[in-house]
Symmetry: C2
Subunit: 225 residues, 2 copies
């Protein structure tokens, strides 16, 4: 699966969130496409954009929440591209990667931001449905500054999975994802080839065990009916 990350951020060079995302996306099958850098004057090249959309299966809109929606540059992109994109978007996936300086729990009735993120994202959800795309639950990175190293690592893995793991993954899909990522890790391959082999084998074995257990459970369910 190929993922297109359409990033909109007017001051990306000072954004820790976006640096974090960019580094996390490097070894994945994902294209980083920063709109403000490509089109500083806002004049979008329609043919380039349609070709990009065509090449990818999962389309991500990635942006900081500016007044409860995307920065103006992404709106320019929408206004100039979407009308011509009916065919190239049909049946694909649309995901939203959102950063916010406000705690996620403020986005609810009674919270400081009053409405849920899902409510604010209705326009994007509706766009997905209009193009018969699957709308992925949004990936929210809130208050990155306040996260511990461990929390950041957890968010990094989640973000990578958001970009590259199949939609609604099973446990087996998740393990496969880790096996693949682990086998491709160049640093480990170079420095610790023996360990890489060993851990890879262990993950494969764990996967087989889970497959066996799943099979047995299904057998038992079948018998008890």
């Amino acid at each position: 699966m190929k993922t297109l990350i359409i990033v909109s951020h007017p001051t990306i060079e000072t954004s820790l969130n976006q640096q974090f995302f960019k580094e996390a996306s490097i070894h994945l099958s994902a294209t980083w496409h920063h709109l403000e850098a490509c089109y500083p004057d806002g004049k979008i090249d329609l043919q380039t954009e349609l070709a990009l959309l065509k090449e990818h299966d999962r389309i991500i809109f990635q942006f900081p929440f500016y007044w409860y929606s995307a920065p103006a540059h992404l709106k320019m992109w929408q206004d100039q591209v979407l009308e011509s994109a009916t065919k190239v978007l049909l049946g694909k996936e649309l995901g939203i990667v959102l950063t916010t300086g406000v705690s996620e729990k403020e986005y609810q009735a009674g919270g400081k931001e009053e409405y849920t993120i899902s409510e604010f994202l209705r326009p994007y959800q509706r766009i997905a449905h209009k193009f018969q795309m699957t709308f992925l639950p949004p990936f929210v990175l809130a208050q990155f500054m306040y996260l511990t190293e461990e929390q950041r690592f957890e968010r990094l893995i989640s973000y990578q999975q958001y970009l590259s793991l199949v939609e609604k993954p099973s446990l087996i899909n998740r393990i496969d994802w880790f096996i693949e990522r682990f086998a491709q890790n160049e640093i480990i391959k170079e420095k610790e080839p023996a360990k890489q082999q060993m851990i890879g084998d262990m993950l494969e074995e764990a996967k087989e065990n889970i497959e066996d257990l799943t099979f047995i459970l299904q057998e038992m369910k079948g018998r008890s009916l």
Copy 2:
């Protein structure tokens, strides 16, 4: 009350909706402010905008629904102006005038557009609350092309009231609004001064009758308690 109509429409010269609105707003205490005309390159003059906001009491965002929100130019305005507008917006009113080519009844669960217009407008509603502004129920002009002359006239009066009538008006407020508009009508004043006087007197009389009736009703309510 002074009203600022912030219009965003990239091809306004071909928009029947916007021509209709513009003509309807002419004799009211309202300022027509078309963003694409003032700032074709999208570079908003912050000081001009803050001065405009300061001068007016009711702020209107007026636009066609592009992908379930405003065209990119209004988003540029939001991104460049709102952060500095905390003081000048405090306590004012925010209204949305929205045009759509789709019938209003499609904006509901099970309709073609799935969600209500209120749901799509959450970002604007939240902005109003953030600035401690009163959010006015949106004014929606749907499928203008298909309206009869009579329907258009009805929408014209409603639009004028949306711009200039006090929020949550009583019947007396509405009659006062008509009396004032009627008295100011230059064409009638010139061509039919006698009729203008007569109809004005009739409206005043009707207003007094309603005030009397309201008083009597309140008396009766008071006695029956």
